[in-house]
Amino acid sequence: MKKDLYEITIEYILDNQTKFYRLAYSYAGNANDAMDIVQNAICKALRYYGTLKEEKALRTWFYRILVNESLLFIKKRKREMPSEENPYMQQPYYEKGYDISDDLYDQINQLDEEVQEIIKLRFYEEMTLQEISDTLQMNLSTVKAKLYRGLKLLKLSMEEAGT
């Protein structure tokens, strides 16, 4: 039975909801905010599903919305933290020698936003570089460069990371 894009989108959302939550949670760090992020992403996706051109692009299209929603949330939280430079919310790059957490999960969450996204989509969501490039609407070579930079910061080599 063939359905229209709207129904397909709904089905996709219902089937993959736990994945969305995990990604949102990795940005939000708490359940309530993570649920808000996913909820907003679903509302936007279904309200503007007309921007989805074909079924094939569904996954990258939805992740784009979800990632944007997550970033929007982070920006908002930063704004609501009343301090000039927001020292603790401004995620610093981890330079060599910096005392970093031993937990790679936390380390990834502290990377520069774009690098963070690329690493999460690549390793957690197992997207191809091309899919990441589509999701983030970023040039493929930029994606590669940023991924490489991220891995270097995490002290991982491309080979080790299996990329």
Binding site: L14, Y25, L46
Partner: protein, 359 residues
């Protein structure tokens, strides 16, 4: 993969999902779907479908064409033996056709309310025009008057078609139909006819749009064919007593539940009026339904093994169903309120019905 990275992924995959999360997602989807459906309805009312004005005329034309060329255009009047003496629901027109690999089947009902003397004649069917089924080619049709409010083009073609097929248009004598009830039957029949033809036209439009988009984005005719798109308009008689008649006319498409539509008809055969929830449950029928639905939900939840939406959603759904008089009457004479799929429960529950006892 690097061990540390593997561990990070494991940690990610183990992210605990809050218990209420899935319900919240489903509620969000339900809310958005409702918004979407209302939007669709609004667009339909305005006659704008996906911004194509040009399309409407084209489709109206193709619908006429469809009526005109359909081989199985069954113009016979079938007698449905569900109804007793006073009223009959007959298939006024039914046809099946395929256009661009879109299968369309339509069954338009027609209500006839006869006065008691003529009802007695039912034993001898040939005497009652509405039930007449004579030799092929001379089947009786419902009064042409019932279609007066439809587009003249369609009506004209219908008649032309009927003549072509050698079918005589022998309207049953309206004398056998009680005066005041004749008005009811007429207005109801007009309403049904309009609903059915409009639904079919719009559904074809939507399916054609889909087809165009499908072909434009690289789909082949062959693949399109495999979609097996079907559009159906049909009716279902829910209950009938000596004085009341309940039936539902529905339109649906197999590829998208978003476009399904149903009309609920509850007729009082004595007074000749449509029965409303207000008539059965009193002025504060909304709160009566609200209360009854709330009471019945726990049992339904258990029976279906799923949790319904929260009370806020349910209140909104009840108000909507009540406002639309979305119900039928069962054999006990109680109204049964119908909630659409996703309206108050997860999609797996399908549409959910609640019998509301009269007080």
């Amino acid at each position: 993969m690097n061990k540390k990275l593997e561990e990070a992924k494991k940690k990610y995959d183990r992210t605990e999902i809050p218990e209420e999360y899935s319900k919240r997602v489903e509620e969000t989807v339900a809310k958005m779907r409702r918004e979407h459906q209302q939007e669709q309805k609004k667009r339909r009312r305005k006659g704008i479908y996906r911004g194509t004005f040009a399309g409407i005329g084209a489709v109206a034309a193709s619908f006429v064409l469809l009526l005109n060329t359909s081989v199985v255009f069954a113009s016979e009047m079938q007698s449905i033996p569900v109804l007793g003496a006073i009223a009959k629901v007959l298939t006024f027109r039914s046809y099946e056709t395929t256009q661009d690999d879109i299968k369309i089947s339509v069954e338009i009902p027609n209500v006839q309310i006869a006065e008691e003397e003529s009802a007695a004649l039912d034993a001898a069917p040939t005497e009652t025009p509405a039930q007449t089924e004579t030799s092929a080619g001379t089947e009786t049709l419902a009064p042409a008057e019932t279609v007066t409010e439809t587009s003249p083009a369609v009506e004209e073609v219908d008649q032309e078609k009927l003549t072509e097929e050698g079918i005589s248009l022998d309207s049953p004598s309206l004398e056998t139909i009680r005066e005041e009830n004749k008005t009811l039957a007429d207005s109801v029949n007009e309403d049904i006819y309009r609903f059915c033809t409009q639904y079919a036209q719009e559904a074809i439009q939507v399916a054609e749009d889909y087809r165009t988009a499908f072909l434009e984005t690289g789909g082949t005719e062959e693949e399109w064919k495999q979609h097996n798109i079907e559009i159906k308009v049909w009716y279902e008689i829910k209950a009938q007593t000596e004085n009341t008649l309940s039936f539902i006319v529905s339109g649906a498409q197999n590829w998208s539940s978003a476009y399904s539509q149903s009309r609920y008809y509850n007729l009082d055969l004595q007074t000749g009026s449509q029965i409303l929830l207000k008539d059965l449950l009193g002025e504060d029928y909304v709160s009566v339904i609200q209360k009854s639905v709330e009471e019945q939900i726990p049992a339904k939840e258990e029976q279906l093994g799923m949790e319904f939406w929260d009370s806020q959603e349910i209140t909104a759904a009840v108000e909507k169903a009540a406002e639309e008089n979305r119900f039928y009457m069962n054999e006990n004479g109680n109204p049964v309120v119908v909630f659409e799929k996703y309206e108050i429960a997860p999609g797996a529950a399908g549409s959910v019905e609640f019998e509301i006892p009269k007080q």
